[in-house]
Homo-oligomer: 494 residues x 4
């Protein structure tokens, strides 16, 4: 039976994928959206939903679970309609509730309005507080509901949904990539800094909006271009229009999309995710070279970097860890006594390739350090003579307020330990992170700005949410400073 | 998998049961509510839910299905809290959606607000329309959400939820029995005409609100009194207070609660449902006597009336139809060829009791006439020599706007056929309905008014919803008038 | 998820219903069987199954749960075939396993063989032991598998399945009503004493076998006759043949089928179950008259008897207890603290009918006495001034070895306490059981013998299973003998 | 609801994994088996089961689905016991039935017997036929049930299960790796030719039997050795004993285990699967060199070979196809119109790596050719200028009678088309298979024989099942013979 849900209605960190389809050719919009969400499943596995518009009648199906768990041929068939909006969601909030599933569908003064949101508003609390003072009620804890309320109120004083949204956009701060469906229009909006991706595609005469290009590929749609930061695109029967709603935009694309979050086969804001990862691997090899026999990536997240590291270093790339393809969420967890098993379940060592070798082990990041320590032990047990750990990103040190789920600072190993302490804790023979300054060199466009605040502490917004203050020292000043003081990291309440 | 839902967001006819528990003694409020809903299950089998208040934190679990399908020991255990609100619901609206499940829980200016509603607002459309013009968004099609919006707005200008509700109540028209939970109070409200029941009980020092007394019995709570029409009762740690919010009230208790809807073991507004049914049977015997061998009730709805008919007529009461105790909702329906089976599945004739007998067959009402015709055929096939059909209520002729599900007038046999035509269609040897004037004599309190509009066409409200007009002729003028004209019934658009 | 099953493979007490359909007219045999099982659901709610024969190809669907839980329109549609065998089962064995679901389908020397069994073999253990010594393997704990093995072995030395079964029948002892399906025949067999019912019906030219006539009624089939004790009926394309395989038969129809187990609308071995119950009620009134105001039956099992008691005594029959129609198996059980609730959940008192009254309360039997005590307390709490408990059967004192589930003797109240002690324990003002000698007078055929061993201790078989011995004293000698000695009841190991 | 099953009871081709655990240290045998099965999941995804032995009491839980679907913490906890047998199964037989789930548990003369089987008996039909003539009944279509019957019969004439099995083994022909559990022993048996793998491990003092070493790794058990072809190992409280039951053994290890079926991290009969694959890639590079820009493997099956091809050819290894990690079985299949989508759903092209490149594409085998053609089209659409298809095994041409699922010969592209025709059909610029003679050089032990009959037509058994005859010409004689005649392939009925 479904789990009891908890109406905390507080702020939630969430990672999501969005998709929109405007049919002009007789495609089945719901099915196209289904395939699109399937390709975006990596962006959120907790819940998903599709809403369709059938001449003004909105049908919606949402649920907890993976796309292929929530949808079946029967319910997808009932979703008849010529426009569709889809959403996949992951929430770091343990008491995620069914009410939070998106797309959010509401009835308001001008009929129906459907919203799918990816990102995180930094002023959600203030907006919500103000709305509540005006008598608004909230049934979920999602940012989408805040935007929905603002849109409905703005719509009473404007002549179109675009106009209403322009009013709303003036009030929103932080990260948001939105797909919105009104009775006759499909609208894509990206925040002025472009934290989260959103792209535009075309299949015959039909338009598609998607978080990543991989979702265009799956339905064989052509990639047209990214929705620009600060842009609203409006699709209706007449075609596509664009409104640049932000006066000036200093881009802040999330670098973690390239490092970890996005699919390697996606191209985001003109940059191939795969190529960026291979390049990061190469830079890592240059920054932290070491004599060794083989380069091994941690599946799946470390593999692309390992390819780059091997190419730059000339040390052979080998598979050293095999992933069990059948890991599901309902797996029975090993007990405390069976702890040794817990890593082996998902990854096994390819002993023949490891035995007697000096191994360079590559992963995308270290969070708490536990998994990393287990893997290193596993490889050493299998006969590796040395393990040189290389991490394809700088140390995680600061919270993300823009939609990436990073654990509380108390749990981040890099916040609490020095480089040497970390090396000892994970049991590596050497340890090297990608230098912060190399982030910009992984192939990202030079004419754009990026957000690396989780590594650097340099936030591109004026005000952090919930009264949090920006760090007074930079990452460089703090990290591995021998006189480093714990309190330097404690400036920010998390 | 869950069915796709359809966001029509239109008006819905619904029958419901509500329950509230305010713990003062250390009872498990959620479990008490579970048992209470279980006893109210007959009032709605489509969805149910329980919300609890745990020092201001609201937890809620809702779902489609019966109480024992939606709740299990695991999820009921998670519903820790000292106040609880429960709801069961039936909806005549085929595209009932998950969002319509109650209790409705929202976050607003003063924390959380939970509403469970039984009844039907006759001005829901107007209220909603006005709210939408002010920028409100609606995520369900329930009346409860309209009330929620009004309450949230009123609360911004008042000092307490009671004050806010007093403002709201001035705007509501039609039928409503409400159980409301604010951060610290449990509130019961009944509309000024008292269409739907609501009673008050006590278990040690804890208070209970429930649609029917049977829900008090199940948890061994003591019945205190009915919530009065036009009364609001407020329960908090200090105890119970009452506010009579309506200046004058002309009662309009729903007679169909006594005839069919309520449990026989409930006592509503001082009248035992069982006793009212036995009395209706007696009046029916007096109004339509006939020489026969046995009196047989249609299980389960006709049995109590048959007891009364037998007592008044002196003709022996016998069981003639046996009900299959294992009928579930997922039953595979007989095909057209197997039509004969469809009645037999639920009811079988007790041949020995019927063969060679003149049978008086009693049921509570005739809607379309099909079931009735099938039963009569079954009994005749089993050897009954005569069937005298007796109906313990007047003919159904008008829509209910107050929360009882009556099919559209096109489908009502009494709207479309004369008494003699109906008799012929169902194949009875004689047919008699309870006379309209006898309704008041089934034991109902003489000092109260009742709503029998579905039979009489006499609506106690000033204005019918959706522009419907009151019938210009009375039931007496129309029904069985030899010059009866079809158009007399067509005044009201349905 | 499905429960882990426990391969005890021990003897199991089980109550069952069987059904067979041989199509000659183009009916859908599986659907007809589905409806038939539905009408037999009261005979077993734990598991059910249907096997069909489609020109020699056997298809089968079985599962744990009610008929409408295990079957849906999809799987019933896959069960194409012209012959069908169905089974419903209740097992007193807590570790009932999926392998025990019937019908049992096997492949053997002559193709497929399907068996559905109702009853209990008293020599199952010996037969099984002998088969195991010959190298047989057993995958379930059912009697049906023993019969299957015997049939397969006998078939290697005979020319037809009938001949083989005649050999097998010589070896079987105890109670068995069988429906067997070979590649081209449908066979019905009843044990020589006729413990369990089995009847024969016809629908157009198609034949039906069923445990009770109510299963014929549901599909509008005509009742032809009961399969006689000691008879085998063979149905194939040529029609019906009968073999009387037992030389002499001293009938032992189970009286508890009439008292409790069968549906009231069934007619078993020429006797209407309903009429037998009304008659038992009348005899009870004569045996234990008492001055009182009303007669109340415990729903549903006591209602028919109460009708008879009222008729014979002239004291008015009234409803006093209302049953909740929505009791399901997954109900959350009240905790120890909520014990008072546990009875109320299923039954509620109709206070108005009970208050101030002297009540004669009728039920079919008393097993442990707990339910009875709770009901009496409930009625007294509701204001009953006196409760006179009347039981429509003699006290349960001995085990049933023929397929009725009776708890171990340690738990039977009548084994452990005298009449007066029982009266005190249940809190009744007086207590009366149906006298043992009246059992034969409830309308049973005078030319037949009946098995009342659970009341009388008089077993009609020569040898009890598992080395149990017959009681040395009769019920009359033991029960309520003032010098009654506990050890008198302990002769039989249970 | 569960699907209706079809009792064909015919021969079934099946691929399986087996596991056994004999606890001496207080481990939880069921949990260890759960983790073991989890590591063997790739060997069968249709059903799984675990049986445990708790001092002679057998408990079993089986079901359709993946290991983490069938088992949860609740049912695994109920599986208390000190010995356990597990099984995962894939069946090519579409009407796979629940009765076929293994381990098969039976009760026989000496208590319980549990069997888990991997492989395929070539004389199963004859054995079964003979057993049926002796009166045996079969409830499933599995080879395991045949072995169970033989064991039970042999046991009546012998003094121990080992002796009984020695008698049985004389009768079995074909491929079988067995794990058997008697009341006090755990037994592992491998057929004399060693078609299917089976290995022995130890965890502290506890023994493990498993299809692959990866299942030892997951529970951190030590690999001791492979069970030898023609060996029976018996584990009881005293420890391990071995019986070599076959006089002479000419090994026939299945080469397809190395090419496709086994996990790369397993070591089978002394050969690392991963190393064998890399070596096959190298040999392929030598046999079919070509000028190109990159080497790309088809995920996941072609990746290891691609590594080897790249190493041997010096052409860079690149990722070119990205696999969606979230493919589940319940995926909604693209319609005919959406055909283009069906490949993209699981694999997407990494355009940046492919565009303008001459690509060597590597996969393990070609069956029907459809997938291959789609992939080549996808890569060409993405801008690949040439595609050189390389297959790391010889063409599939003959049926496997030993437990590998190969489609019927009618569907095999290599049976029906010449090399050049296949190249054209799949749209490759060149095509090369691993030469048949290179199979022995992929690292397999020179002192052992291998079965490559699916490629060569050279069967190592004397007699093929079901009257099939061995091919009269060798693969070399037939394949790509310009005068090749279709009928050469049609000798064997399939």
């Amino acid at each position: 039976m479904r789990k009891t849900t908890n109406m905390y209605l507080d702020k939630v960190k969430e990672e999501c994928g969005v998709f929109g389809f405007f049919d002009m050719d007789g495609f089945d919009a719901a099915r196209m959206t289904y395939y699109g969400l399937y390709a975006l499943q990596h962006r959120g596995q907790e819940s998903c939903g599709i809403a369709v518009n059938d001449n003004g009648i909105i049908r919606v199906h949402k649920g907890m679970g993976l796309v292929n768990e929530v949808f079946d041929s029967e319910n997808i068939q009932e979703l008849k309609g010529t426009m569709a909006v889809g959403h996949v969601r992951y929430s770091a909030f343990s008491d995620f509730q069914r009410e939070d599933c998106q797309p959010l569908v509401s009835r308001y003064i001008k009929g129906s309005l459907t919203i799918a949101h990816n990102g995180n508003l930094t002023n959600a609390y203030e907006l919500r507080h103000k709305l509540e003072h005006e008598g608004a009620i909230f049934q979920s804890s999602s940012n989408a509901e805040v935007i929905m309320h603002l849109a409905a109120r703005a719509r009473t004083k404007t002549h179109s949904i675009e106009e209403a949204m322009l009013k709303v956009l003036k009030k929103l701060e932080g990260a948001f990539s939105l797909v919105i469906m009104s009775p006759r229009k499909l609208i894509g909006i990206r925040d002025p800094k472009g934290f989260r991706p959103l792209c535009l595609g075309k299949l015959k005469n039909s338009y598609i909006l998607a978080s990543e290009t991989a979702a265009l590929d799956v339905i064989k749609a052509e990639f047209i271009r990214d929705v620009e930061p600060g842009e609203m695109v409006i699709i209706n029967q007449e075609g596509l229009r664009s409104i640049k709603y932000a006066d000036e935009t200093t881009y802040s694309h999330c670098v973690f999309e390239y490092i970890y979050f996005a699919r390697p086969d996606s191209v985001i804001d003109g940059v191939s995710v795969y190529a960026a990862r291979v390049q990061a691997g190469k830079l890592l090899a240059k920054a932290h070279p070491v004599e060794a026999d083989i380069v091994v990536g941690v599946p799946d997240s470390g593999l692309n970097f390992a390819v780059g590291y091997a190419q730059a270093s000339g040390i052979p790339y080998e598979e050293g860890l095999i992933k069990n393809r059948y890991t599901g969420r309902t797996f029975i967890k090993p007990t405390q006594d069976e702890r040794a098993i817990s890593v082996n379940i998902k990854l096994n060592v390819l002993k023949n390739n490891i035995e007697g070798k000096r191994v360079i082990l590559i992963d995308d990041s270290i969070v708490r350090g536990t998994t990393c320590a287990n893997l290193i032990k596993m490889l050493k047990d299998a006969g590796a003579t040395q393990i040189h750990m290389r991490i394809a990103s700088p140390p995680f040190m600061w919270p993300c307020y823009f939609g990436t789920d990073i654990p509380s600072r108390d749990e981040l190993i890099a916040v609490n330990y020095s480089l040497e302490q970390i090396r000892q804790k994970i049991g590596a023979d050497s340890l090297g992170y990608l230098p912060l300054e190399d982030i910009k060199n992984i192939g990202l466009r030079k004419d754009r700005g990026y957000c690396d605040a989780c590594f650097s502490g340099k936030y591109s917004v004026n005000k952090l949410p919930n009264g949090n203050q920006k760090p007074s020292k930079t990452q460089e000043e703090i990290y591995d400073n021998p006189r480093r003081d714990k309190k330097d990291f404690k400036i920010i309440k998390n």
